[in-house]
């Protein structure tokens, strides 16, 4: 089965599979950068037991597609894939994987970093943190894909 460039799935994530899909179409490129986001065992002084991720799936897929469009505009020589997992994820397991290929390392790193920054800004996914003694919904950014200052901020971080 072909691997899609964007996915929101309750299944365990497969970084080698995503890298193969992203890089397979780009034989001759000189760089692949990847990022794996893991469930951390602590957060804001709490001992985390596990995370339960919820997504508004059709909009999440659309937002991920928008991020890939933005990356194509900013770094046309890259090809990027992003998969996000949902449901209960244990400590140390991957919640998000990103792979970016480019002829040169600078754009591969930048595209990869930009992708995760934008995921945190505009993709409708939420962490329900279960910790020792309770649980809490984490809330970060108000999602607004048209917020140009947020997009610029992600771009600056990616190019730092």
């Amino acid at each position: 089965m072909p691997v899609p460039l964007v996915a929101v799935t309750p299944s365990a994530l497969d970084l080698p599979g995503l890298i193969q899909e992203v890089a397979g179409a780009r034989a001759g490129d000189g760089a692949i950068a990847s990022f794996v986001g893991l469930v951390r065992d602590h957060n804001q002084g709490r001992r985390v037991s596990f995370l339960d991720y919820e997504a508004y799936e059709p909009l999440a897929i659309r937002a991920l597609g928008r991020i890939l469009d933005e990356i194509r505009d900013a770094w046309p020589d890259t090809r990027v894939g992003v998969h996000h997992r949902t449901g209960r994820i244990e400590i140390g397991e991957a919640s998000v994987i990103i792979a970016a290929t480019s002829p040169h390392r600078a754009n591969a790193f930048a595209a990869c970093r930009y992708a995760i920054e934008r995921v945190k800004q505009i993709v409708p996914i939420w962490k329900h943190e279960h910790f020792e003694g309770g649980d809490v919904w984490l809330e970060g950014a108000t999602a607004d894909p048209d917020d140009e200052s947020a997009r610029q901020s992600a771009y600056r971080i990616a190019c730092a």
Binding site: R62, H128, W137, A143
Partner: protein, 81 residues
């Protein structure tokens, strides 16, 4: 007219349901649907300044027009990654 309301994360917990059906008078906007919802469940009101909204799984503004059968979603600040 009838619309489907989708709520996520803590908004869903506060409402006690992730999917609701609401009858609102047309012509309606997302704002109309939100006001009807908060009238029923005042606890949701705290999200008015921080939430995002979507119509038929596409980001929208509070002023966006809502039609019969549309799916209107209210989204707390996101925390993916």
């Amino acid at each position: 007219m009838r619309v489907t309301v989708r709520l996520f994360a803590r908004l869903r917990d506060l409402a006690g349901a992730g999917e609701l059906v609401r009858d609102v008078e047309g012509p309606a906007t997302v704002q109309t649907v939100w006001k009807a919802l908060v009238a029923d469940m005042p606890a949701l009101g705290e999200y008015e300044r921080t939430m995002s909204v979507a119509v038929n799984a596409d980001y929208a503004r509070m002023s966006a027009t809502v039609r019969e059968g549309d799916e209107v979603a209210f989204l707390p600040p996101v925390s993916g990654g």
